[in-house]
């Protein structure tokens, strides 16, 4: 798989996070809190091509009622949403920044995330940059790394289950209506 492909794959095969790191960066309660609490999602590296994984995720989040803010200097509008060249240009408060970029680009992105005061940052599956993730943690942000927003949303709202996937969730408690 080419580097570019691997980095943007919605669900990568890269399972390099240690068990300890998974507890830190893929914590179930942390992920659920973001999915439940976030309203605005800035997507750095969102593609305007409809067959691209990032576009799939954006389209999904829009249909689930999130406000998606594209961050892509080469686009003016993606999926009907105005696109911004960088995070600093976004005029509204950002709840979570979802990153579809190469790990090497993440240090600069995290600096910007901290600067604009976003509450959480989410590095997509395969986007692994421990320095950047730790810098965000030190700045008090909620950090998720090596996970997909769409898959995690589907895991907890039941839709991933509907296509036969192993969500890993086991519970005898009655489900709640809504998320």
């Amino acid at each position: 798989m080419g580097l570019r492909q691997r980095l943007t794959t919605e669900q990568s095969l890269d399972r390099t996070l240690s068990a300890e790191e998974k507890t830190l960066f893929k914590h179930a309660k942390k992920i659920q809190a973001i999915l439940k609490g976030a309203k605005t999602v800035a997507m750095v590296g969102l593609s305007n091509k409809s067959e691209r994984p990032s576009n799939f995720v954006a389209s999904y989040l829009l249909s689930e009622g999130y406000q998606v803010i594209p961050v892509n200097p080469r686009a003016t509008e993606i999926l009907g949403q105005k696109s911004y060249p960088d995070l600093k240009s976004i005029p509204v408060p950002i709840d979570v920044v979802d990153v579809f970029r190469a790990p090497a680009a993440c240090d600069a992105i995290i600096e910007e995330v901290i600067e604009v005061g976003a509450k959480a940052v989410w590095l997509q599956l395969g986007v692994i940059n421990r320095n950047a993730a730790n810098a965000a943690l030190d700045a008090g942000l909620t950090v998720v790394m090596d996970a997909c927003l769409k898959i995690e949303h589907g895991r907890y709202n039941g839709s991933l289950h509907l296509v036969g996937m192993n969500t890993g969730i086991i519970s005898a408690r009655r489900a709640k209506i809504g998320f």
Partner: protein, 431 residues
């Protein structure tokens, strides 16, 4: 909801894939006997059809009762996901149709269920796929049969009729070194006795009709994938798919890519979906799988040991017996016991052994004479007088099912009763 914990096999048997629903709180898995699902809106419907949203579209593609069966099987096999099909034959066909293109080749063990052999040899040939069958016990045979066109390796955990145990790790290592996925039919073992993905296989298929359902009531199949195989060089999974606006399944769905393509392209187009009612019955079977399998293997070992000592029996092919050539592999791959299906040979006396086999079958009271395995009840078949009756004795020997061969699927009855029945029939057949 608590943080994820690694629950045990029996807990997953009872709970994985089913959370009591918010509206009714129904504790049992509801049977969603429906063909289709009302869409929220045209926009949501479009999202579903473009696979931008996971959800219910049409029961040929997915169904909420079937989804419980699928996720439960994925959890029990330690896979990333699963796809249920109309039968075990449909599970393997769907797997191959998803992976292969005309001109591709498969290397398969020759120790296979006859129906699988026929599908691989004849139906695959019609699709311009060549399958090379190899004696599976020597890894060199597998290696020698691999060509640049080989796109899958295929074997069974417990092979019929010799009761051979496949050295899965050995074949998996060879498959990995050639970047080819290893497909294992684990029907005879069920996920309780062996989990091939844990040993390096990439895809597991089952005839769920057998031990998974466990009661001989429903036909069904299932495919479970490990989600670790890199399909970059598999055009069938990696290339743009014309019927989905050139969607690239592997790039978009990654570890779910193979299963998503199998579901939304192969199953959609070939139509071999399972009935929701059958999924429900298979779920019922899964809930007692470990309990039944423990008794199945206990009874099977007792029957095999009894037959081994019986004066009317020539040989017994059960890897659970210490003198089986597969005993060591059985201890490694199926430590709780090598299933409950095996063959034995009637002693060839002076008369016609084929007639002796027929007499044996006719003399049984408890073993049901039929063409199936994995029922809670004990089953028996004599291939020379039924499935293979058109073959001469010489042809039978060549096919590895001599005229003296009897196949048993040992059930859950009182063991003394099974031994009484077999002893009685053996004596009757020798008169």
């Amino acid at each position: 909801m608590s943080d994820k914990k690694d629950f045990g096999f029996e807990t997953k048997m009872l709970h994985a894939g089913h959370i009591p629903d918010a509206v009714t709180g129904s504790r049992a898995v509801p049977i969603y006997q429906t063909t289709s699902y009302v869409f929220d809106s045209p926009d949501k419907a479009a999202q579903l059809f473009e696979l931008k949203q996971y959800g219910n579209i049409y029961t040929r593609i997915n169904n909420p009762t079937t989804a419980v069966f699928e996720e439960r099987m994925a959890a029990l096999e330690n896979g990333t996901g699963a796809l249920a099909t109309a039968s075990g034959m449909a599970a393997q066909f769907t797997t191959l149709m998803t992976l292969l293109r005309p001109g591709d080749e498969v290397v398969a063990s020759s120790h296979l269920y006859g129906g699988t052999y026929t599908q691989l040899e004849h139906t695959m040939k019609q699709l311009h796929v060549k399958v090379h069958f190899v004696e599976p016990t020597d890894i060199k045979n597998w290696e020698a049969a691999i060509t640049p066109k080989t796109k899958a390796l295929y074997g069974e955990t417990i092979g019929n009729p010799k009761g051979s145990i496949l050295d899965i790790e050995n074949v998996a290592a060879l498959a990995a070194s050639h970047s080819i996925p290893l497909i294992i039919d684990s029907t005879f073992a069920s996920p309780y006795l062996c989990r091939p993905l844990d040993h390096g296989a990439n895809i597991v298929v089952h005839s769920a009709t057998k031990f998974i359902g466990g009661h001989g009531s429903s036909i069904g199949g299932v495919i479970v994938a490990d989600g670790k195989f890199d399909f970059t060089n598999y055009p069938s999974i990696a290339d743009p798919t014309a019927s989905y606006h050139n969607l690239k399944f592997f790039e978009t769905f990654g570890e779910y890519g193979f299963l998503m393509k199998a579901r939304t392209v192969t199953l959609r187009d070939t139509g071999a979906c399972i009935s929701p009612f059958n999924s429900f019955l298979l779920i019922q079977g899964l809930e007692t799988l470990s309990l039944r399998m423990d008794r199945h293997v206990k009874n099977a070992l007792a029957v095999a040991t009894f037959l081994k000592e019986h004066p009317q029996v020539a040989w017994v092919n059960y890897a659970g017996l210490p003198d089986s050539p597969f005993h060591d592999l059985a201890k490694k791959y199926v430590p709780r016991g090598p299933g409950a299906v095996f063959s034995f040979g009637l002693k060839k006396g002076s008369g016609d052994v084929r007639a002796k086999g027929k007499k044996f079958i006719e003399s049984l009271d408890l073993f049901s004479h039929l063409a199936n395995i994995g029922d809670a009840r004990s089953l028996v078949i004599h291939p020379a007088s039924t499935t293979h009756q058109q073959l001469s004795n010489a042809e039978l020997e060549k096919a590895g099912v001599g005229p003296e061969l009897i196949r048993l699927s040992v059930g859950l009855e009182t063991i003394e009763d099974l031994l009484w029945d077999l002893d009685n029939a053996l004596q009757q057949s020798s008169l």
